[in-house]
Symmetry: C2
Subunit: 402 residues, 2 copies
């Protein structure tokens, strides 16, 4: 762990609710005063707003967030395209395909590079702390964060043998493992090059932070891969949360921190913005896991229960497995045997997770994480009007806006 991350960890729990470090199995107990009370259900419908392209889902959620994402794309895409034009030919081909900007044969595609929530967080954080000038200065950093995100997607798909992303065949299925690995390597280099060549006074600190984040993302992916290979009873809730923070929270936190750096923010505000992004990222992952079990397949393009069928050790499942309830034992038994195709298996498994408290725990945790995110945001950006865009984005990714 690097110094930057260490200090972030130390400062980002002002409420003292450090349940990540508490004894295993206690996390699912709702703590008194957690802000899930009175917030109503955290989960709406739709899934993976960070990756899907369902326009109807977008339009039904948070007009302000949608506008911010659109404006961010308009600012960052030219920077991304110009950076990717400097890639050697074969890396460029694979990368442009992965971004959805080219077909496999190299012809132009309409493009579906995802929502690009991360660059929007960079630009919106810069604007919140430094106004329009800071936002304009941070466009390179926003592109760098998006390049890092896509480098990890290219490599994760190879490792996980995932065949589909954004409704298209993944790059390794089209170009082979070697080209997908090399394109990822080149995108990481390109990301850090953008910052190294940026004359802005914050660029060196931003590059250092982004490189640290890459190492944390690698550790998160390692933990995810390693955990999936282990027996369900061997996985603790602590390590599942730590994995989700490293794999999902770290880059959202880094995006916000980079925006703050480009706004010339004080160190403690940079750390608070990192914590804001991390906590919001964990809330997103919790909600995403809930939707992965109980979500509406018409909205997600993915059958409800796909995670259960794959016996995935998602957060609600691990919370259920480690709950010490009678339902936990039944769930462990189900997870120890391969998925028995048919609706009944999924219904029984989902019910076991719910009875063992996995759903309630995840919703309470998500609400708690969002509350912490709001606290951190208020610390770094006390003016509610200035903080409005970031609030809208956080609510958008956690599906709380309507």
């Amino acid at each position: 762990m690097t110094e930057a991350r260490r200090s972030a960890t130390e400062t980002r729990h002002p409420t003292g609710t450090l349940e990540r470090h508490g004894p295993i199995g206690t996390q699912r107990e709702k703590e008194p005063g957690t802000p899930s009370d009175g917030h109503g259900p955290v989960v709406s419908d739709g899934r993976e707003p960070m990756a899907s392209d369902g326009h109807e889902a977008v339009m039904s959620e948070g007009h302000e967030a949608v506008a911010l994402l659109r404006e961010s794309r308009a600012s960052v895409d030219p920077e991304l395209r110009s950076a990717m034009a400097s890639l050697p030919a074969s890396m460029r081909r694979t990368a442009l395909y992965h971004f959805g900007w080219q077909h496999a044969d190299g012809t132009r595609a309409a493009g579906n590079a995802g929502k690009a929530i991360r660059p929007a967080l960079v630009l919106t954080s810069a604007a919140a702390l430094g106004g329009p000038g800071a936002r304009a200065a941070a466009v390179r950093a926003a592109a760098a964060v998006e390049l890092v995100h896509n480098f990890t997607l290219l490599h994760d798909d190879v490792m996980d043998r995932d065949a589909t992303r954004r409704h298209r065949p993944t790059a390794w299925t089209v170009f082979g493992d070697a080209d997908a690995i090399l394109a990822g390597d080149a995108l990481q280099a390109l990301a850090l090059r953008l910052l190294a060549a940026d004359p802005h006074p914050a660029s060196a600190a931003a590059a250092t932070r982004l490189a640290d984040c890459v190492m944390e993302l690698c550790e998160g992916q390692h933990a995810d891969t390693a955990m999936e290979g282990r027996a369900p009873g061997d996985v603790t809730l602590d390590e599942t949360l730590a994995m989700a923070e490293a794999k999902t929270g770290a880059l959202l936190g880094c995006a916000c921190a980079l925006g703050a750096l480009y706004a010339g923010a004080a160190d403690e505000d940079v750390e608070a913005m990192d914590a804001f992004g991390r906590e919001a990222g964990l809330a997103f992952q919790l909600i995403d896991d809930v939707i992965g079990i109980w979500g509406d397949p018409r909205r997600t393009g993915k059958p409800a229960g796909a995670d259960l069928a794959a016996r995935k050790k998602s957060l609600p499942v691990v919370a259920a497995l480690t709950s010490g309830t009678p339902a936990a034992a039944g769930l462990a038994e189900l997870y120890a045997t391969p998925y028995d195709e048919g609706k009944e298996d999924l219904e029984r498994t989902a019910l076991a997770v719910e009875r063992a408290g996995g759903r309630d725990w995840a919703q309470a945790q998500a609400a708690d994480r969002m509350a912490r995110a709001m606290q951190e945001l208020a610390r770094a950006v006390p003016d509610p009007e200035a903080a409005g865009g970031l609030l809208a984005l956080a609510e958008f990714v956690t599906r709380r806006s309507t």
Copy 2:
């Protein structure tokens, strides 16, 4: 191709012998006045001094180079170890194993991380252009170059399914593909982080150059992989030379350029040092390919002809195949059929390469590249005494010293 690389390409052929861009098949013609005349045989014995650990081979070649490599290791190893200590646990385990500093079970190993010629080139270039102060300032950059080199080795071994490196099982065979890919990703991030966090005024330019080099290395590896999958007759000498320059020359050139940057050298000297390293790197590759066919197996630990048995499209082989000689047709026939185990096949194939002029061409090319390297070096470091260390290293890697 990036701007930095483009300008390097433009400036590094002062002699006008741009045979890389000449018509295919003409390269094997020895050009009048190439300095191979009168230099005697370029090839000595031994193989892969950049990767092997045979001490007897080291001691018989260039005492000055050996001393420089030892002093470089002493300066860079503490920096490397301290940087690697900051890696997340699982990346650290894989990386320390790959460096030979730990066994697979995490216990301490005697260590065989190769000769580390690249960090020695960084430090010796810095010293040649800026004296001991520049050398001391460039230790981080030297460590960064070595981290990049090892990141590419980790990934190349996965892609090429190579099972052995430095006489040990490769990381992917021990920890699996995912961990080897992730450790490589983390080492790249760590390398660029070292430079990003370095307050030296040259660090940003160095990071930009190193990131550009990573992209070139990726392209070289892509070209290598793609060429091995093609029919022997489809591969041109131009693209084989371009591949070797990207895969081997680029990082040696970058190492020398980074040393020059840390010495505060003028732009044209930085480019000349890059060209010096590239040309010496190509000379190395040519010699290495010759030894791969005709070398002494007692010295290399690898049977002579292993490259031929694998039907590898090494530089002498492609020169022979594209020579238009009668022997070329016979060689193409041999290469079109899989290796027929037994000494006879290898002897016939080696003879065909030799008769088609592949061996002579490679030796003349290597001598020519070394002559250009010397010209570039003399331009950047006119004082022969100051240039002595770099000359010794270049001779060491091309086995010309005794």
